[in-house]
Symmetry: C2
Subunit: 212 residues, 2 copies
DNA sequence: TTTACTTTCAAACAGCCGTTTGATACGCTC
DNA sequence: GAGCGTATCAAACGGCTGTTTGAAAGTAAA
């Protein structure tokens, strides 16, 4: 019925507002630092709303995590009709935009990056749904570039080298701003960073390919 | 006098125990997660001891930070009589051992790595005394390798690429243990990681040197 | 209108936090 | 031993946390 739909959407509207506010706050503070009261304040909801709708603060974080945009990025890249090296460049560009662009609606990756250093019970879900697919994707891509000459261990370390470079710019943002106050992560800067990481990493990958 | 020395050392013994416990706890939890009560429990001191000796929890963290080992590493490397490439390998080996080896007494770098992602008022001191010298050191080292062909911006990004790889193994430790449970940071593994980062990075550096 | 159910709300709860307090014990000078 | 700073201690303080409660409001079916 009309009324039934209305009440359901009314309830789901506050649910959605809570999820939006949660993503915002969880991406700016770590799990301990993000308070239920601030999330509810931003969502214009009562403090009890979180526990009513999601059971707990942890439950809210778990439901706030949504990696559909990341998954879409990966599948689109796999389907792209381009050579592995160009696909690596494309991936790095899209991934860094997702990681660094403040304008980007996807705060998921920022929450993810934060969870890496400071595990919460939600980390298991993050590893399973986001990080493991990411590593698998990048592992296959690097394998396409280097062929079968290098071992699994060395391949994995190449993947780590790439992700390490990517995450550095997010993790160390507060430090970099102190060292170079004029630094801004606008679109042009992000694309330049992604280009650097691609050049740097392709050279590293192909070098290891030669020596082994 | 004898007695004067004894009382001073008695007081400084609890100071030292507090500092040791603080380094331990601050390297395992972030600033919010590390509690004064646990630090005092490990130091076998009263909860009031922190505020009595250091004024506040923040003051304790500030005094607990001591980068002499890191500074020694840098100066020793600068004085080493070796070509820049080998000095880079040496630095990476020593730095990764400092970062990853649980046996290593220096928890400073682990606190530092933690602070990167989660700034506290102590970050200013960390940047000034540890990170800025580190970046400056590595910048000069990379400059020695590439010559004057590449610009300051690109040079800085090479430094970021190297530090990013290093910090990845510390930041993502919880994740890597979930992805590969058999991973252990023993001395052999750490040295292999450092060797990989050196190979990977030298190729990246020299490639950028050629293309620019 | 009555009934039943879902959602919101102010208020309170229990627990931890960093910090302060005032008393107590200690070490040393005189 | 008296006097005096210093260091330690149990206890409490004020504040913030996530969560719970019970009443009130809102909605839809009878």
């Amino acid at each position: 019925m009309m009324t039934e739909v209305e009440t359901r959407t009314a309830s789901e509207q506050t649910r959605a507002r809570l999820l939006d506010a949660a993503r915002e706050v969880f991406s700016q503070h770590n799990f301990q630092g993000a308070t239920v009261r601030e999330i509810c304040r931003r969502a214009e909801a009562n403090v009890a709303a979180v526990n009513y709708h999601f059971g707990s603060k942890e439950g809210l974080l778990a439901e706030a995590l949504n990696f559909s945009q990341l998954a879409a990025l990966l599948t689109a890249n796999v389907k792209a009709d381009a050579c592995p090296k160009i696909r690596l460049r494309l991936f790095l560009r899209d991934f860094m935009l997702m990681l660094l662009d403040e304008k980007n609606a996807s705060s998921q990756c920022r929450i993810m990056a934060r969870e890496l250093a400071d595990p919460t019970p939600a980390l298991d879900k993050i590893v399973l749904e986001a990080i493991a697919p990411l590593h698998e994707f990048l592992g296959k891509l690097v394998r396409e570039i280097v062929g079968d000459q290098i071992g699994e261990t060395e391949l994995r370390r190449c993947v780590y080298s790439i992700f390490g470079q990517c995450q550095f710019y997010r993790h160390s943002h507060p430090v970099l701003q102190r060292l170079h106050p004029k630094l801004r992560y606008d679109r042009k800067e992000i694309e330049a960073i992604a280009e650097h990481i691609a050049e740097f990493s392709l050279a590293g990958i192909e070098h290891l390919d030669k020596t082994q």
